[in-house]
Structure formats: structure tokens, C-alpha cells
Symmetry: C3
Subunit: 347 residues, 3 copies
């Protein structure tokens, strides 16, 4: 594929401020890997310095660069370079992986499975009874979907996923490999001698446009529902306990654990490796730093980090100060000796 820079600029409502409009663009790439013919983008000002050494032929950028540029590079000014880049990627014909439409002969569909048109179901898929699947949804090989589930339209379920009975998943979702949805929550009562299992009879409800990373686990509710709101993105190896409620458009990075019955608002961002206590509430638009331990509820719009998590600038001060405790011990010892001396002298 060969597209002139001017054409690309028009696709994304961009303005060429430097370089030849007729420069041919043949691919898209990252700054560091770009070769002649490639289009790149600059996410923000701090990456601008890398521009000087790129081999790319064109760059999408939010404002005129202030660094020296390679001789022939075409600069296209756009409002949001990253989103423009994604749009161009799609024009260049990038598409998500897929499998052939239809139901593979080895897929096993139990009684009363209801499928809409345009569905692709791969080999060795198992779908339980009464489950409904919306149109154009893709189910890769070796996926298990239990009884009485509902999966929306144009959702993609990658290989080796397990979706247990009664789960509801919306449309345009992407469920990556190894994900377990609707497995039992960790609920037991100790009767003085042994642990008695609390039957987990609730379910999981996932909204539209949700992405769930590989090997992430989302437990069903004890009663009622574990909920993931529309537009929320969850990374790999995340643990979501029973009865957790997560709002819309959240982003949760890898290896985070959210304990049972936590309630997370909309547009919450959680860094990697964080731990969220059970039965607490995280308000809308909260940002939680990576590796934080959130023990208590957090008010909306707050930025917190640390262990236990507190307001982020405070957390940074604490983290820095804690590095000086060894010296502090010594300084306090010195002070004690000096005071001792002063006191002795005064006697």
C-alpha cells in the first residue's frame, strides 16, 4: 500500500507544515523501529527529542516540533496524534485476527443454543444449553462457555477461555486467552474444625466494549452480580473477587487484585500490581498508583498511591522520607548524646 502524505493528512483532518505533500507512506511504525516510508506519531512533547534520529518519512504531531528534524520528514499536525494514528492504521487495512464464519464441525453446542448471523465458532469449542450469542461474535478454538450465558454482538473470545454458566457479556468485547469468568468466589465459613463452602450462586455481568487481558480471573458473585461496566479495560493476570462492582471506562493494569465486594466507580485508573481491599468504595475518576495497597475507601477524583495508599503527593513525600530513616536514627542518637552532655553540664 502506498499513500501520499497529503492523503493521509486529509484522512485525519491534519495539516502538513513541513516536507513534501507527495511523499509516499508505505507503513506505520514506532519511532525507534521506523524505516523509510513509515509514518510515526509523537504522543507528547517529551518524546519529541527522539524525532531527530528517526528514519520515518512522516510524523503525526500535536504541534510544531522544536528539535532539529531529519531532512525530509513530513510533519502532519493533528489534534490527537495517537488517535489519528489508530484511524490511519485501520485505513491501512489492519484488522484483528479472526477465524472463518460458521460453526466448525467439531464445536459442541448443547440444546437450545441461540446463535445470530455472522458468527464464527472455532474447533473444539463447547457451548452450554440455552446460551445466546449475538451476531458477528467470534469464538476461537478450545473455548468453554457454560449454560444460560448471553454474549453480545461482535465480541471476540480468544482460545482457552472459560466462561461459566449464567454469565452475561456485552457487545464489542475482547476476552483474551486463558481468562476465567464466573468461577466460584472464595467464600468459606470456618465451623471451628473445617471450612464450609458458601455456595456461589450469583453471576458475572460484563458491559459492552470491555477488554479483559490473558489469564485474568473474574469470580461470580455469592449472590447477585459481579459487574464490569462498559468501556472498562482490564490487563493480564488481574484478580477480581466475588461481588466486585467496577464502573464504566476504567483501566486496570496487570497483576492487580481487587478483593470481594469492592465498589469501583467510573473512569478509575489502577496501576499495575495494586491491591484493593474488599468492601471499600473507590469514587469516580480516582487514579491509583502502581503497587499501591488501598485499604480504605477513596473519594472521587483523588490520586492515591503507596502502602497504605494516601494522597499521591503525600505518598511520594513519605516514600522519599522513608529512605532516610537509617540516617535519622543516627541523627537522633547524636542528639540524645548532645542533650545528655548539656544536661550533665548543667548539673
Amino acid at each position: 500500500m502506498q499513500i501520499k502524505a497529503i492523503q493521509i493528512a486529509q484522512w485525519v483532518d491534519g495539516k502538513i507544515i513541513r516536507g513534501e505533500e507527495d511523499t509516499l507512506i508505505t507503513g506505520l511504525n514506532s519511532i525507534e523501529n521506523a524505516r523509510e516510508g513509515d509514518l510515526i506519531f509523537i504522543r507528547d512533547k517529551k518524546y519529541e527529542a527522539y524525532l531527530s534520529q528517526t528514519h520515518a518519512s512522516a510524523v503525526l504531531i500535536a504541534e510544531e516540533p522544536t528539535v532539529p528534524l531529519p531532512e525530509k520528514i513530513v510533519c502532519i499536525i493533528v489534534k490527537n496524534p495517537e488517535i489519528a494514528f489508530i484511524q490511519i492504521l485501520q485505513k491501512f487495512g489492519f484488522s484483528q485476527p479472526s477465524i472463518p464464519k460458521g460453526i466448525h464441525s467439531t464445536a459442541i453446542l448443547e440444546d437450545n443454543v441461540q446463535l445470530e448471523e455472522g458468527i464464527a465458532i472455532g474447533p473444539y469449542v463447547f457451548i452450554g444449553k440455552n446460551t445466546q450469542i449475538g451476531k458477528n461474535t467470534i469464538i476461537f478454538p478450545n473455548v468453554y462457555i457454560g449454560d444460560n450465558c448471553q454474549i453480545g454482538e461482535s465480541t471476540c473470545i480468544f482460545p482457552n477461555v472459560t466462561i461459566r454458566e449464567n454469565t452475561i457479556i456485552g457487545s464489542q468485547c475482547i476476552i483474551h486467552s486463558g481468562v476465567c469468568i464466573g468461577t466460584d468466589g472464595f467464600g468459606f465459613v470456618f465451623d471451628g474444625k473445617e471450612w464450609i463452602k458458601v455456595p456461589q450462586i450469583g453471576r458475572v455481568i460484563i458491559g459492552d466494549n470491555v477488554e479483559i487481558g490473558s489469564n485474568t480471573c473474574i469470580d461470580r458473585a455469592t449472590f447477585g452480580e459481579t459487574r464490569i461496566g462498559s468501556g472498562t479495560k482490564i490487563d493480564n493476570l488481574v484478580q477480581i473477587g466475588h461481588n466486585v462492582k467496577i464502573g464504566d471506562n476504567c483501566a486496570i493494569a496487570a497483576t492487580t487484585g481487587i478483593a470481594g465486594s469492592a465498589v469501583i466507580g467510573n473512569c478509575v485508573r489502577i496501576g499495575a500490581g495494586a491491591g484493593i481491599n474488599g468492601h471499600i468504595t473507590i469514587g469516580d475518576n480516582v487514579t491509583i498508583g502502581a503497587w499501591s495497597g488501598v485499604a480504605k475507601s477513596v473519594e472521587k477524583d483523588a490520586i492515591v498511591s503507596g502502602f497504605p495508599a494516601v494522597e499521591h503527593s503525600r505518598a511520594k513525600r513519605i516514600l522519599v522520607a522513608q529512605q532516610y530513616v537509617p540516617e535519622l536514627l543516627k541523627r537522633v542518637k547524636d542528639l540524645e548524646m548532645k542533650i545528655q552532655k548539656i544536661e550533665n553540664d548543667c548539673v
Copy 2:
């Protein structure tokens, strides 16, 4: 299903102290989701306050509530409300998910697999040679069980589980989706140039009545056995290294990691996200707080937390005190200046 409150009270040896004995109970639910006709339970005193607003028709509770109650609610006093609730749930016909008895035509059983009666083996299951499976055990689709394994009676293995060769699993166990049992331990020797693999020729032995959460990994022993005692419950995404020994009736919450050759006693409780060092011993009845890092052996009956884990009340004092280090730095600086001044004045 419609059952009178008096009947329910009789099932669990309970006593109605308030409300109409003939009140009809039609379902079970949590306090917050309960509707008319539902039975709920109060685990302990601190949840009692929620009772005032419930729509439930009856409540199982350990002692007479002291809060104002909804007009018609029936109070049933029982010794352990949660266990009584579980018993009633079973009377109401709740049952774990299952699949049809028999061996699905697509299941592959290698030579000399020995199956007892009442077994259910789903589609696309693979069972290696010489493996024995006890009666009424259920194996969901896409499970792999290697050669020479022994699985007990009435155990349930959910989809996409991998059980490697020579593993022994007891009766009444529940193995959730994505679990890997008997995979190689992480054993390598650096020969000065590269890592030489130490063959992992041991196995995994799991007792009766064990539950293992989704995507948890239990490595085989280098030699001998990795052991999980009867009645132990393990949550999702837990890592259990080679040669770990875990006693009976432990509870291990999600995303915890237990390093190789650690020895954990009976009735140990480990909070989420904890890390247990290799080659240490945790005594019986120890409680380990969530996100603790346990570097050294812990005596029986201890409650520990923190990083490194120490006695819990001490750990709490440390955690709180550490929040004040920024101010401490400032206070010490002030003291230093004052001393300096005093010393100068004394000269």
C-alpha cells in the same frame, strides 16, 4: 418453592423470636439484594445496622437484633447463621454445576485408564495412561490429565485445567478453570555460562476436600512431593512452588506466592497478595495479613503482617509510624538547630 418460616427454623434448629411463623419464604439472598419472600442472614453484629432497610421476609441471626427492624420481618435465632444459611440453600435445591454422566464420545482415554461408576467426562478431555478416577467425579470439557494420576471420588474438575503426570488428588475436591497442577518447579543451576535445568521428577499430592481457584499454579516437587493437605482452600492466581508442604484446613487468598520448600502448618490463614519465602516454616493456626512479606519462620498461633512480616499489632504500629517520617525529619532538623543554638550559647 415456598416454605413457611417455621419449617425453615426447624431445618436448622432455630427459634423464631419475632414475626409470623407462617410467613412464606421463596428464596435466599444477600441483605442488599433481598426482596419480599427472601431469607437472609447476618454474619455478625457489625452488619446488623443494615437490617433496618432490608426488604427480606426473614433473617437468620445469632442473637436478638438491637436495631429497629422492618415491620414484618421474621427473626430466626440460630447458633451459626452462615452455616444454617448454607444448609437451607441446599434444601432449596441449589447444586453445583455438572455435566451428563458417562464419557463423552470425544474424550480420549489412553491405555489402562481406570474409571469407577458414576463418572462424567466431558468433550475433548484427555486422560493419560494408567490414570485412575474415583466414582462420581466430574471432568468438564478441555481438561488434560496426564499419565499415572489418581483422582478421588466426587471431585469436580472445571474446564481447561491441566493436571500433569503422577499427580494424586483426593475426593470431594473442586479444581477451578485454568489451574495447572504438577508443572515443573523453577529449578536451574547456573554453570557460569547458562542455566542448567534440574529435572523435576517429584509429584503433587492433594488431599480431600481441597478447593483450588482459577489459574492457580502448583508445581511438582524436584524430588518427593509438593503437598496440599485435606480441607485446604486456595483462591485464584496463587503460586505454589516446588516441594511446598501445606497442612490441612488452610485458607490462602488470591495472588499469594509461596516459594519452594516452604512448610505451612494446619489451619493457617494467608491474606491476599502475600509472599512466603522459600525453605521457611509457618506453624499451625498462624494468620498472615494480606500483602505481607514473610521472610522468616513463624511460630504457631502467631498473627503476623507487614513487610517484612512481624507480629501484627507491632506491624500496625510500624505502618502507622512510617506515615509520619516526613514530619519526623523536620522535627529532627528543628531539634538539631536548637541544640546548635544552645551549644553556641554555652560557649
Copy 3:
């Protein structure tokens, strides 16, 4: 199998310094589990004390033991006891698990899959179009391999693994169960209202002789490649983000997370549960302690630990000092009172 101690010594270029050369060795075992007839090894001096109580018939050891020994035990001095032990294990006929050569009738191979000789492909395996697999590679049941992948020679892929399209894996690799390779990186742009997915069009390239533990996740690159160098060993439940580059002969312990675009050198050792920030560089031969949080780049040969990770001996001092903050608070308070008193007295 029965081998004389002298024969075993000859296999590994060892020297018998104690006991009967003709002692029959019938198996290999660990110190604690060894019975009569077993050979054991002592990794280093600190395990020597256990020798006094072993039931083993012979021991591989680097130098003459200084503890009292069981009466009849044969001592074989070798340069590296652990590596000698592995060599003897292989002589004793230990071999990795396998499946029959050939392609199982239920395996599904899409168009133009290229297989070399000696391959074993198990039941219910799916291999996408144009994928190439080298000779003697073993693919266990229920594995999914996408389109356009390349797998080297004598690599072993255990059950329920997912390898997404365009992935390259070298020779002599071991990929344990539940591993996900080439799943999408966690890349999204917030457009002010919702998260827009950044298509992940890169791939994963894994060198030779790499081992990857169960349920570990390795994301594909956004562009270009996520790379794992030859000889690197990765434990269970590890998260490796998009565009991460890991060098040769690294060892990465369980539940560690490495964020996107981190660059890890050769021979780096990372303890369990560590977190490595995105976009940083870890030099060759660095050692990172378990549960460390590495926020900034680390120079080659450094040993770091702690949160945030700093030079290891410093980190230990900080960790120890932090345990005394509660007392420090009290001491500072005492000092403040004394100073107050001195100041008052001086007026």
C-alpha cells in the same frame, strides 16, 4: 537400575574419598527423602549439617564434609555437585514427559502448515495457516497456535497453551501449561470520554532454550517485537508487557510483573513478586531482590532490592531501620521535651 558408586564417580569425573566403591546405588533423591540405595548431593556448605541424619548411601559434594557422617555413606567429591547430579539423573534414564510421535487424528492443521520430521502433535491441537514447526517438537493436547508462527526444533509445548499469530519461538524451549504468548498488549488512549484501543500489530520473538512457567503471559508488541533472549528461564504467573526486551540467560521468578517497553539485559536475576517499571533499562548481570519495586533504570552488575529498589545493602539498612520508626517517634518526642525544658531553664 543398580550402579556401583565407583561407576557413578567415573561418570562425573568424581573422586571417592570415603566408603565402599562397590556400594550399589539404585536411585536419586533429596537429602530429606533419601533411603538406602539413594544418591544425594549437597549444594553448598550450609546444607552439610543435614548429612549426619540422611539415609542415603552416597553423596556428591564439593569438598570433604566436616560433620559426623552416617557410617556407610560414600562421599564422592565433584566440582559442581548439582550439575553432576543432573548428569547422573539422565544416565539413570530420567526423561521429560512426551506423547507419541505423529499427528493425532483430531489435531487441526490449517493450510500450509509446515512440519519437520519427528514431530508429536497431540489431540485437539489447533495450528493456524503457514505456521512452521521444527523437528522433534512436541505439542501436547488442547494447544492453540495461530497463523504464521515459527516454532523451532525439540521444543515442548504443554497442554492448554495459547500462542497467538506471528509468534516466533526457538529450539529446545519448554512452554508450560496455560501460558499465553502474543496476546494483545495493554494499549489504549483516553479520548476524553472513553478508551480507544491501540491495535497491537507487533509480535513476540523467543530465543532458544527458553523455559516459560505455567500461566505466564507475554504480550505482543504494539509495533515491532517483544523479545525473550536465549537461555532465559521464566517462572509461573509472570506478566511481561508489550515491547519488553529481555536478554539471554536471565532468570525471572514467579508472579513478577515487567511493564511495557522495559529493557532487561543478559544474565539478569529477578526474585519472585518483583515489579519492573515500564520504559526503564536493567543492565547485564543485575540481581533484583524478591518483592522489589524497580522504578528507575539500574546499572549493570548492580544488586538492588526494596521499594523503591536501591542498592541491596542500603535497602537492607533501610528495611531494618524502618522497623524502629515507632521508637524513633518516641525518642524524638522525649528530645523535644528535654530541649523545651533546657530552653525554659535558660530563660
